[in-house]
């Protein structure tokens, strides 16, 4: 390694670490532990959903039918593709290919934007059909069923909303990462941030993989509720 290169790399190593290896392993372990925390965060919501679905099966099936599973499936595909492009960015970082990082991040960002756009369309449709919980909610039928359907949509908005919030945060971070990557911030020796962020993005994708069947697919068999 040349003198100039090693001088550059010395600034990369935080002062409390003994080696790059220790720094890298620490960064990645930290991200995994953080993701364990995120799993527990979403787990609380899934528990609520499961409990209320158990309590109001017909209403939840009805609510699920009022979601457009094709848009949901499209979004699922979009997120999976975005995870692929994220991997491209990480591989670019691992092999020291600056342009690959940038391309991967830009594509991931674009796919994320598509996802959010579809969500906006879906949320808008719910608003138009008076299915958003709160004062705007309308139900013409059995009041008890109406309350349960409102609960379904409450869970729908909170769960997808919380997921979307995590996506927006991720996209914001990517906006910052793209110019940094272009400027050569990450190298083959030190690219922990990109790898760690990749883990985060895959996690966000994984949450959606669970949300999609729970919310969109469970009611497709038919429902006994009419509204």
């Amino acid at each position: 390694m040349s003198e100039a290169a090693s001088a550059h790399h010395r600034t990369d190593l935080a002062h409390h670490f003994e080696s790059y290896e220790q720094q890298k392993q620490s960064s990645l372990l930290g991200m995994w532990v953080f993701l364990a925390q995120e799993i527990m965060f979403f787990a609380g919501l899934f528990v609520c959903y499961v409990v209320y679905r158990h309590m109001h099966p017909a209403a939840f099936a009805f609510g699920s039918q009022h979601l457009d599973w094709r848009l949901g499936a499209l979004n699922t595909g979009v997120l999976i593709l975005s995870s692929f492009t994220m991997v491209v960015a990480v591989v670019g970082a691992q092999t020291g290919r600056r342009k690959m990082i940038v391309c991967g991040l830009i594509l991931t960002l674009l796919f994320g934007a598509v996802f959010l756009g579809v969500k906006v369309v879906e949320y808008g449709a719910k608003w138009q059909h008076h299915l958003v919980p709160g004062p705007h909610f309308e139900w013409h039928g059995d009041p008890a069923a109406g309350r349960a359907v409102q609960m379904f949509f409450a869970m729908y908005f909170v769960m997808t909303g919380m997921h979307a919030l995590h996506m927006v945060v991720g996209m914001g971070i990517m906006l910052v990462m793209i110019p940094l990557a272009w400027g050569g911030r990450w190298t083959r020796e030190n690219h922990n941030f990109v790898e760690g962020f990749g883990l985060y993005w895959h996690f966000v994708d994984l949450v959606w993989i669970f949300l999609f069947p729970f919310l969109y697919l469970l009611g497709l068999a038919g429902s006994g509720v009419h509204g």
Partner: protein
């Protein structure tokens, strides 16, 4: 100092902040005990009294007990014990403190405007519909504070895994490290559940979406399940680090390795794991099915076993040890007794038949104060007394510290033992008025609280005094074993001049243990 992200500095920041919030919580406790001197509710309106005990609980639990030992002692001592220069993520560590202060600000804002009246447990539907107070602000404060704890937990887990000195294998680690590891696991896995529960509470309160409102298809008991799923492991966050501290002090002042090291190490992990399985014992009278209640009761019996393992091992360590009655040792011996009482009464509460009788009475209040004050708080004080020379480089007065330990022990028992009797006789908790026949016990309790308060004020004085006038401590005033005692007092910027290598087991006293200078006893004159 607020921009410096060395863990030593952050520990001091936390020390100052937790002391302030402890004082606020203590002020509320004073007001509660003053009200309870007389059977009639004559000092405060009932609604005000509700706010007093709520804010007392919120301040003490979230802003004192949960951060105290991990963030104050852990931040300073953990890297030293590991032979590391700092924790794994120093900037995240500083962010933890900032989040803690932001959370405290929201809560103080609520406090200044009258506070919350729901009890620290925030049960719905009171907290979502009927409470007219600053529930949202307090919930937000606790939410932000929760992330402070989560980040500290992440930091400690990674630090323990990745930053141990060469030769420091897992089974050579001091038991405080094992306890901190178990605590961090709980912080990382349990706190997010509280976070999402508070989010749902906020949404319900703000947008009227009825997650916990039966009128809209919701279930208030679901709130209790979610809340206690966090809050039971939370009590282990509060006690586990203290249990680690006790192991350190007993090893130091018996001049012996802790008996059954591996059992004690694994017991911390076992408490963390089992602690997640017993939350239903807070809900025996909430309409839980008898089958669920029986399972939770059985698991509650199980979770006591690892705690008992620790106590037995400490006793075995004391046996034939070369015991020195230093101030930390005073606290430790007091701790064991109080922790046993607290634990046994916990088992009583976990017994279905007894719980029906004493649930929501002062029996419960006494139980958890025995563990949280007699256990966790005393161990925190003990930890401060033990590591103060290392952190500040100064010694404090032996006479006054022994005296304050005595005041704390006597005051504590006088305050809380009558409460067991009160609860058993039927005095409900969270009531500010009571039948006249309970007054004697309440008066004893309040008298005890005054003594206890004195026991907390005295250390404040001699600790501050020691900063200016205390004798210099030297590297190892207690003659204890551990990496933290091999560096200077206070430690240099990167904790060690030369990074250590470890070639001996935990607590292995080399022959003979040599104290660098006479411990604090020489500095007992002058005050």
């Amino acid at each position: 100092m607020a921009a410096d992200h060395r863990s030593q500095g952050i520990a001091i920041l936390y020390l100052l902040s937790v002391t302030v919030f402890f004082s606020i919580g203590g002020l509320y406790a004073t007001l509660i005990r003053l009200e309870l001197l007389t059977p009639k509710g004559d000092l405060f309106q009932p609604d005000t009294y509700n706010r007093l005990f709520t804010m007392h609980g919120v301040m003490m639990i979230f802003f004192f007990l949960i951060p105290a030992v991990p963030a104050v002692i852990g931040n300073f001592i953990l890297p030293l014990m590991l032979g590391a220069k700092d924790v794994a993520f120093p900037k995240l560590n500083l962010a933890s403190w900032y989040l803690y202060m932001i959370g405290a600000t929201f809560t103080l804002y609520s406090l200044v405007h009258g506070g919350v009246d729901t009890g620290w447990t925030f049960y719905t539907p009171l907290s979502t519909t009927h409470s007219n107070t600053y529930t949202t602000a307090t919930a937000l404060g606790i939410f932000v504070n929760g992330f402070s704890g989560i980040f500290t937990g992440v930091n400690f887990i990674v630090t323990i895994h990745r930053m141990r000195a060469p030769g420091l294998t897992w089974f050579r680690l001091p038991l405080f490290v094992w306890a901190s590891y178990a605590t961090s696991l709980i912080q990382v896995l349990a706190t997010p559940v509280l976070a999402i529960t508070l989010v749902l509470l906020f949404l319900e309160r703000t947008f009227g979406i009825g997650f916990f409102n039966p009128a809209v298809g919701g279930d208030p008991i679901l709130f209790q399940h979610l809340f206690w799923f966090y809050s039971h492991p939370a009590v282990y966050i509060m006690i586990l680090p203290s249990l680690g501290v006790i192991s350190e002090i007993i090893a130091a002042f018996t001049r012996k390795p802790i008996f059954g090291y591996k059992f004690v190490a694994f017991s911390s992990i076992a408490i963390a794991v089992f602690g997640f399985l017993v939350w239903g014992h807070h809900m025996f009278v909430s309409g839980e099915s008898p089958y669920a209640a029986m399972v939770f009761s059985a698991l509650t019996m199980l979770v006591a076993v690892p705690s008992a393992v620790k106590v037995f091992n400490w006793m075995a360590t004391l046996y034939r040890g070369s015991i020195e009655y230093s101030t930390p040792m005073f606290y430790a011996l007091g701790f064991i007794g109080l922790f046993v009482i607290g634990g046994l009464t916990g088992l009583m509460l976990g017994t279905l038949g007894i719980d029906i009788h004493v649930h929501d009475t002062y029996f419960v209040v006494a139980h958890f104060h025995y563990i949280m004050v007699g256990g966790a708080l005393m161990a925190y004080l003990w930890a401060l007394h033990f590591w103060w020379p290392k952190i500040t480089g100064r010694l404090y007065s032996g006479f006054w510290s022994h005296l304050s330990a005595l005041l704390v022990f006597v005051g504590f028992n006088l305050t809380f033992f009558p409460q067991f009797i009160l609860g058993y006789l039927g005095m409900p908790r969270r009531y500010h008025a009571y039948p006249p026949e309970f007054q004697v016990l309440h008066v004893l309790s309040t008298a005890g609280a005054s003594v206890l308060a004195l026991g907390y004020i005295v250390p404040l004085i001699y600790f501050l005094w020691s900063l200016k006038y205390g004798a210099y401590a030297g590297r190892n005033p207690w003659g204890a074993v551990g990496l933290e005692w091999e560096t200077t007092s206070p430690p240099p910027v990167h904790n060690f001049e030369v990074m250590p290598t470890v070639d001996h087991e935990a607590y292995e006293h080399r022959v003979p243990p040599v104290a660098e200078q006479e411990p604090y006893r020489v500095v007992k004159y002058g005050l």
